[in-house]
Subunit: 195 residues, 4 copies
Amino acid sequence: MKRNKPKYKQIIDAAVVVIAENGYHQAQVSKIAKQAGVADGTIYLYFKNKEDILISLFREKMGQFVERIEEGIAGKQKAAEKLLVLIEYHCRHLSGNHHLAIVTQLELRQSNKDIRLKINKVLKGYLELIDKILINGVETKEFSEDLNIRLARQMIFGTLDEMGTTWVMNDQKYDLIVQAPAIHRLLLNAVGGKY
Amino acid sequence: MKRNKPKYKQIIDAAVVVIAENGYHQAQVSKIAKQAGVADGTIYLYFKNKEDILISLFREKMGQFVERIEEGIAGKQKAAEKLLVLIEYHCRHLSGNHHLAIVTQLELRQSNKDIRLKINKVLKGYLELIDKILINGVETKEFSEDLNIRLARQMIFGTLDEMGTTWVMNDQKYDLIVQAPAIHRLLLNAVGGKY
Amino acid sequence: MKRNKPKYKQIIDAAVVVIAENGYHQAQVSKIAKQAGVADGTIYLYFKNKEDILISLFREKMGQFVERIEEGIAGKQKAAEKLLVLIEYHCRHLSGNHHLAIVTQLELRQSNKDIRLKINKVLKGYLELIDKILINGVETKEFSEDLNIRLARQMIFGTLDEMGTTWVMNDQKYDLIVQAPAIHRLLLNAVGGKY
Amino acid sequence: MKRNKPKYKQIIDAAVVVIAENGYHQAQVSKIAKQAGVADGTIYLYFKNKEDILISLFREKMGQFVERIEEGIAGKQKAAEKLLVLIEYHCRHLSGNHHLAIVTQLELRQSNKDIRLKINKVLKGYLELIDKILINGVETKEFSEDLNIRLARQMIFGTLDEMGTTWVMNDQKYDLIVQAPAIHRLLLNAVGGKY
DNA sequence: GATGAATGAGTATTCATTCAT
DNA sequence: GATGAATGAATACTCATTCAT
């Protein structure tokens, strides 16, 4: 299994750095190889093509992210608390990965439709996580019983995404994590929750 | 003034069609010229470069959009009503411009950071409009008095944007306009408004 | 019609020189462009891709060759004379086009199967010319009446081709044209003709 | 001596299969190694480089072929009979080695000039065999006394080669061996022989 | 002897922009 | 103003060969 070999992760991490520092269109394979400390050809022992690097990058990083949230949520009873965990982790995830934040919020969005479609499939895991919290909240009557799950999910994801993108576009110069409670209050209000 | 000459608008409209039908990365200047019925070189009599076409496109179309919302809002008293107008116009704007919806929600996002930064400047007008409604709502005590305007604005814009993008990605196959009231309720809840 | 524009022929002639002097695998498009005195990109205004240059080259040059033989044959009555014209023109064609001889006898044969198949289609015109002479000779009873046309054609073409290739491989250092009568006698014997 | 070790022949046979089934340009060393059941690096214990595999392949197979013809000829008195043996063996050789026929008649010709020159050296043994038959025929006055040996050899080889190539290009779908007598008659006529 | 992971040189093609007419 | 032929920079990927184990 290639994905567990050290060079696999090494190349992905190199790609994050190179894309963040040079921009999507200036992230040549040779640059990534150099940053990873391997030959150009070695890249192709671990990835089918350049596109595969980008999608794998997103899958690996987003996968870890979703897993960690799931663990964090597991300890919480109330849907409102789960939502807070999600928001906090989202903020911390962006804050704690300077380069990755740039790559996922800005650079990777320049990729072509094919890549974006595949990235969307990976994102689905995150969206389903949000759905689970919402459905749970409705079932326990914490949230409005007539809540439109899809719209609420779009609101939550859209808000967090817009927040993240704005923050990255402003060069990450303010503190994202301290805003988590305020975001939580807004979104909780929206879905009819109380705190 | 080039902007008022017929070919200026002709080229912009051609760009919308070409980008929507071919995708951002397949929207070559020569294709746009052909669609506009002019020679390649003529484009450069009206636009500095390709980037200038895209930004001008966004400026023209978004400008009209903001103007129309401002007119719609003018007739409303309550902030909650203004917010509803904004949401409805947003949905109608997307629904009524098949090609433009694809271009602004999907294709133009693949442009590089430079263009996206300039697009963001154009968007500022829309964001300020949202801010105005929010500030008005806080002042009239319709909305929570401790509302974080910036976060609330990011939530509103992020929600509408995410909603629009999802809708376009799903080939615009469901009705966006009928969802406006539900969105309105969610967002109004969030900011502490009542209806 | 691109094929009549001067640059079309200019590029083809440049390709002949570059391939002859550098070998098939060292004949980069940029070298051909330089030799033709045009920019790399200009090549693609006249040819679909590199393969198209090679096939067009073969088509143009072989087309002229076959035409000239047809003219030469037209003036002859006897099939034996026609065969002599064909052989003489074949020898003269190779002798008089130093570079082209190298390209068609050696270099172009290194091309991949796709290109070779398309080249074969062009060659068909030449093979049909041989067939016509043979059929004519059989009908006029100059040649054996039980002559196997296909085999005889393979013999004539195979002999001329082998002769040409050997000559080019030996750096064209002996006179090909003086051998035409001897070749003619051999092949005429073969098909049962007299002289 | 490496040439007598089993892996030497194993690799050559693998090369024949791989080249025949994949084409010259798709016959990577790694594919040959896989087909031979050895590691890539092992190839280089038996062959200097890829070129060496191809030339060795040709030398081994052509060597066996020439030996067998020499044996067949040994039993014949007349030059005309010897020529018939050569033609029959040539046809049988191609007919009986499906893969090898493809490799020698089509694929190996795509190799570069260097390899083709070395292959020609190997072919020399075959051409000398033809020469011997021709000289013998002239000396016994079976053939024309003013026969140009070189041209006659080029005719015989060129004819057989063209016949073989055409047959392979047509997917070997007709019977080659039954044509031997007709070819024999043509070539015998050419050199002035009687039957 | 045998392995196979790692290497790194090399090239066709696209397309925004220009400028002579 | 309008044209469109010409420009030329820039980059992913393959595969023969090596060498540490």
